[in-house]
């Protein structure tokens, strides 16, 4: 008896989860992507503080002003420890008669942290400090839109809709898919057959027309939140069947494992086994599906908003911001209005990198 005891391993106790986290952290691309994503979400949460301006404040002096560059080295080539921007000067170009902005090399506005600016509310309280800004002049790092609103601030505020909707949509999809799939695979029999037929019916719906139809069916006078909810619900309802199928397949294998039988023998009921043993075992798979699913929702919301079927002002989303970049002339004259698209693509890529990283961490052999 004691012989077997002494063969005890002295290795530190690492759970499966810890092992996965370790493997994930070894994947540099995924790790960096995850960190950047976390930063994007933090900026989203503290949007009022991080964005230099209020997203609705229009500066009539600077309509469609181009991005200002942060500089350390001035026009004479001197290094400056405190970064600054040159003040913008609006002029009418006498030859083309268009309004153009030029940097005034004589007026530099230094950038400070925690400067006073537009008021915003956070957790019901009003603040006026912003992460960065200038004491005088302007700092439009991504330029301004057709009405003179700061693009960067609008993008940061827009992420509230864009980045949350992905998570909410995927959460709904995962909850439905995992629960129904696990129960279907575990219980089997008539319930399984019924679920499988339902899934087939759901999968017959063509997704895009359904989205368009449903989004268009929401009366325009209703606040944007209804549109958002309908987008999330539609996504959840279209996507859960696919996931349910996958989870069911995994559960069919797991159901035969001895530890499920052992749990049943200990007196666990159906829901207990599903919740405590089956779902945790398919959790890594769900995590991968979730991270890869989020960009899909994000892009879909943006598409709808881009076509005017999604959120409506004053609500902002990245897709909505892109609406003003629909016209070709706008694109050629004011390319910075495309910045939200860059954010969209980057966010989608980051989620994909993280998803791949998780997949590799979970199952190093595939």
């Amino acid at each position: 008896m004691n012989n077997t005891a002494s063969t005890a391993t002295n290795a530190p106790t690492l759970s499966m989860r810890q092992l996965m986290v370790r493997r994930f952290c070894r994947n540099r691309v995924a790790l960096v992507s995850a960190i950047v994503l976390v930063m994007m979400y933090l900026a989203m949460i503290f949007a009022g503080f991080v964005s230099p301006y209020s997203p609705s404040k229009s500066d009539t002096l600077y309509l469609t002003a181009p991005p200002q560059t942060i500089r350390f080295i001035d026009a004479e080539g001197n290094f400056n420890l405190r970064p600054f921007v040159y003040r913008m000067e609006g002029k009418r170009d006498l030859r083309t008669l268009t309004f153009v902005y030029e940097e005034d090399l004589n007026q530099r506005d230094e950038i400070f942290l925690f400067v006073k600016g537009d008021e915003y509310t956070f957790l019901g309280m009003t603040f006026d400090r912003h992460l960065f800004g200038t004491l005088e002049g302007t700092i439009y790092l991504l330029g301004t839109d057709l009405r003179g609103r700061d693009m960067l601030s609008r993008i940061i505020y827009g992420s509230r809709v864009t980045l949350t909707i992905g998570i909410v949509g995927v959460a709904l999809m995962i909850t439905l898919g995992a629960l129904i799939g696990a129960l279907s695979g575990y219980i089997g029999g008539f319930f399984d057959a019924a679920v499988q037929r339902t899934i087939e019916v759901f999968r017959l719906f063509p997704p895009i027309p359904l989205w368009l139809a449903l989004a268009a069916a929401v009366p325009p006078q209703l606040p944007s939140i209804f549109v958002l909810i309908s987008i999330v619900v539609i996504y959840g309802f279209i996507q859960w069947p696919g996931l349910a199928r996958e989870v069911r397949g995994l559960v069919l294998v797991l159901r035969e494992t001895e530890f499920v039988l052992a749990a049943q023998a200990a007196g666990a009921g159906t829901f207990w086994v599903v919740r405590k043993h089956l779902i945790p075992s398919v959790l890594p798979h769900l995590l991968v599906t979730a991270t890869l699913g989020i960009p899909v929702v994000i892009i879909f919301e943006s598409t709808l908003s881009f076509f005017g079927l999604g959120v409506k002002p004053p609500t902002i989303s990245w897709g909505l911001l892109l609406q003003q970049a629909q016209k070709l002339e706008v694109l050629s004259f004011y390319p910075w209005l495309l910045a939200p698209a860059v954010f969209l693509i980057v966010a989608a890529l980051l989620f994909n990198f993280v998803g791949d990283g998780i997949r590799d961490a979970v199952d190093p052999y595939s």
Binding site: T4, M16, Q264, G267
Partner: protein, 354 residues
Amino acid sequence: METELAASSQNPLLDVRNLKIQIHTDIGVVRAVENVSFSVHAGQALGIVGESGCGKSMTALSIMGLLPGGNAKVADGQILYNRSDSEIIDLATLKPTGAKMRSIRGNEIAMIFQEPMSSLNPVYTIGDQIMEAIILHQRVNKTEARKRAIKMLDLVGIPAASQRVDEYPHQLSGGMRQRVMIAIALSCNPRILIADEPTTALDVTVQAQILELIKQLQIEFNMALILITHDLGVVREVADDVAVMYFGRVVEHAPAAKIFKNPSHPYTQRLLKAIPRIGSKEELLQIEGSVPSPFSIRKGCDFAPRCLETVQKCKDQLPEMELIEAQHQVRCWLRQDAKSLNDKEGAKSTNNNE
């Protein structure tokens, strides 16, 4: 042992009567268990022996209400569980997923499985898994459950239990894991313990330790034990009573001492010869004839095709279980006929003496 039996023979803890289990498959009905009867009392150990596929696990799972989903069913018979003097429950008629079955399963009747490697969920610590069994049946908080888990680990001989409670299954050896499985099974103080080949997957040196542990705990907890194995050697050390199964039927049932001293059924005799293991298992498989297909219509004695002593009667008619001496039942025409011949002669001689 026999006095024990006599003392409690009025009300066995578990009384299985004429149990029939059928598995419905696409190609037909498998009669996995046919008319199996046995009973166990508190503090008694019953060994069920038989080769692979003879229906041992099915019998055990039917007691637990865990027959594999949908297609396996108790077709006939009763599984009477004496919950208390006033409550005798037929487990065969209970809804397997119902609250009552769940309150019995794992709580009053517990089971240990063959594969300690995969019987533990790799996601949870062993402590979590013992606590799970406790929390499923008892209203205790986590700290209390944890204390109990450590106590159980201690009880099954896992050293430094308060540290190992936080380890994961993959950190433990096979023997250690089987000890954890035993701890889980015993955590709610069950009255009946079913062990389905608890040592088959372990290496030989560990097997003896685990068996010893099971036996010791059975006595300590005064449990009824049903030990399932294909190894008569295992039964010899642990069981008070032995039921030998062949092809879904019990063919010999007697106190262990009698089985080993006077094995009667030709199949039991074969099994006993197979104990010295080396080479003899092959010999057993090389017996002329083959195991009948589970789908075949049965006629006569199941063992007849492989039996060396077969007579015509064996092929035509299925023998019933009959006593050939006190407490010793055998399902074999030859032994039963020999006994009645003996009885007649005995009667004659006593007559002559008069």
